[in-house]
Symmetry: none
Subunit: 441 residues, 2 copies
Amino acid sequence: MMMNGKVIFVVLDGLGDLPVRELGWKTPLQHAKTPNLDYLADVGITGLIDIISPGVPPGSDSAHLALFGYDPIHEYPGRGPFEAAGYGFALEDNEVAFRVNFATVENVGKTLIVKDRRAGRISGEDAKELTESIKEITEIDGVEIKFAHTLEHRGVLIFKGENLSHEITDVDPHAINVPVLKSVPLKHAKNISAAEKTANIVNKWVKLVYEKLKDHPVNMKRKREGKLPAQIALPRGAGKRFSIESFSERWGFKPVGIAAGALYKGVARVLGFDLIDVPGATGLPNTDVYAKFKYAIDALKKYDFVFVHIKGTDTLSHKKDPLGKARFIEKIDNALEIIVDDIKRNDELTLLITGDHATPSKIGYHTGHPVPILIVGPNVRRDDIKMFNEFAVQKGGLGRILGQHIMQILLTYTGRALEYGLKVSSSSLRYIPHKWNALDF
Amino acid sequence: MMMNGKVIFVVLDGLGDLPVRELGWKTPLQHAKTPNLDYLADVGITGLIDIISPGVPPGSDSAHLALFGYDPIHEYPGRGPFEAAGYGFALEDNEVAFRVNFATVENVGKTLIVKDRRAGRISGEDAKELTESIKEITEIDGVEIKFAHTLEHRGVLIFKGENLSHEITDVDPHAINVPVLKSVPLKHAKNISAAEKTANIVNKWVKLVYEKLKDHPVNMKRKREGKLPAQIALPRGAGKRFSIESFSERWGFKPVGIAAGALYKGVARVLGFDLIDVPGATGLPNTDVYAKFKYAIDALKKYDFVFVHIKGTDTLSHKKDPLGKARFIEKIDNALEIIVDDIKRNDELTLLITGDHATPSKIGYHTGHPVPILIVGPNVRRDDIKMFNEFAVQKGGLGRILGQHIMQILLTYTGRALEYGLKVSSSSLRYIPHKWNALDF
């Protein structure tokens, strides 16, 4: 029996999909030619996972928490702290962090209607210049304010001061052709006065940002160029500093992450992963998938759990480009060759490939459909599924399981799982300890 | 993308079954000719649901709570309050409600042995006359007593007074050839003296009822006619007034119910459903199923969630009449034509058909076998199952899921589910809000 096996854990963001007319009523994953994924499905076990719970559309952060074996209901601090961590901000106790999107709006009287939640995926110099203007807002009602731009249309906002609360609603409506929302306390907020104070400051900040950006030269230029302006920044996912058991403490693996998106790095960093920057990895469909997989294999020398995140599948789904998604899946499949070669030789390696949620490319946002998964490795019970797609795996040997159960299954597949009820270490009840606390004689 | 889709939610009571010899070792659902159900299975997704939890035989009330997306363990107040609500009694804080069955007993010395828990499904004038006699009992030990007959052998009993408890055992043994039970406090009752007082009053009431009914002219007549007498009424499911989040608050749908049985109306009413009375709907196998489906389709104009309950499948199972059940299923299938026609034209409609529990017709009571389910709609991932029965759906694309997860899955299928972690409304965290709280600029 192989023990202390190693894992490559590949997340293809937004992988799950629905049949689309333009692909002959197939999903992008069905339509794509994927000899390597199909080979892996053939030699491995497959199934469907409900990342959070059946029918619940996951956010990318809570989805990754669940995939890494944390309870997404009880251990989820909100989006803001993850974005902050991804950027490198270490939150203090008196701070509240938000994820922020640059957005395109239309002014109809006293209400702003959201036309694009990503301002045409604004990036580069344009985003940088707008960020400089937003950074001029450094204080509201005695609360210190910090803002940073991360990737494309994304940013982080931090409030620092006494009596602040994260139990407030989002300004971002998460939909288009609806108004920019007024932040208010959540119905069951524990400290209503703190929540009211914080919500008021958020609302004031959003209005100040609009005043600064609505006629900003960058936006004037973008309009001339036929690009969508970013007249506003929409905060969401308020959250405070939180403590969470590290991934290595919980599961016994020494983990590393290979991801370009700030959020995915943030989740990994919060859980104590090391991070590897791969040249050519962009977090976009133009990313160098092959390089990421190559670095992943190299990383097995030093680490025993390698998380690889590929964002492009989700980006193309949000763009409602099913054919583009299928082509990108083919690019991934092609790059998988290097891992397939390795797994044929490496008796210690378990490979897992799944998504963090469905983003059907005809719908363009996250849905609660379950996500296909495949696992290949020396201790895996192979099933008779020979193709990797949303339909074939309905009959896979893993059945339909919860996202948060995968890590424990991987402990079994890597020969690391501790028999239930055993107490051979004061901290871990899940995995066979790496060190034994010997009795002196 | 379809958003705010509508749902017809059909519950065939006691649908699940087991193979029976007289149908060539097929289940009634397998034996019945069901072209419409099979068509729906073909174009939709199928699976098995454990209504409460695997192997747990659901009660009809807890089963419907679970199907409507409530936790049947932590949000279940007991049977009595649902029966009361179904009849139209609004419970007050100092009241305890019971479900009651007319029953046939045999006196063996000082003990009554239950021979039929439904007194031959007594109904009509007979039940009415016996009810008049029971209603003469209006007070015991200073506690006010109300009784009402609902449908067939069923009734509701209400105690009103100070210091009453619902934490007492049932008088109904829920089995035949065993004694009528003495009600006593539950072992862990919070207020033992209140429970003792209430149990004593229940026991006194049952004895008084027996005195009134044992030689009642109605029962003499029934015996002469070869029918089972109803010499007693057996209370069970004591419960108090309770508050529960309404269905529309929890799921965002505007719901209506089409049901004839008091309990099903009661559950729906408690959860804030409107109710439609359909001419010809009886809650019995002679019911007009077609009329119920026709009213369901009409109701889609005003409502976006239509619950249709069909009781006959369960009644025939309790009667241990598998062939009758198969014939009744064929009647349902025939009537389904009108919904099948609609779903072919209506891109907004999602149709769900399932049972609330298994009542195997060779066993005659509720069992913990999982129940077949099918769902058809625009956002459903079709599977390759082409027949609707307990066996074919074992390989369905939904897999095996819990009853309480169905509503969240329907949010996904109707384009209403809110991404997990989003806070766009102060109260709802599950569905996309109908109204947006705009920020003024």
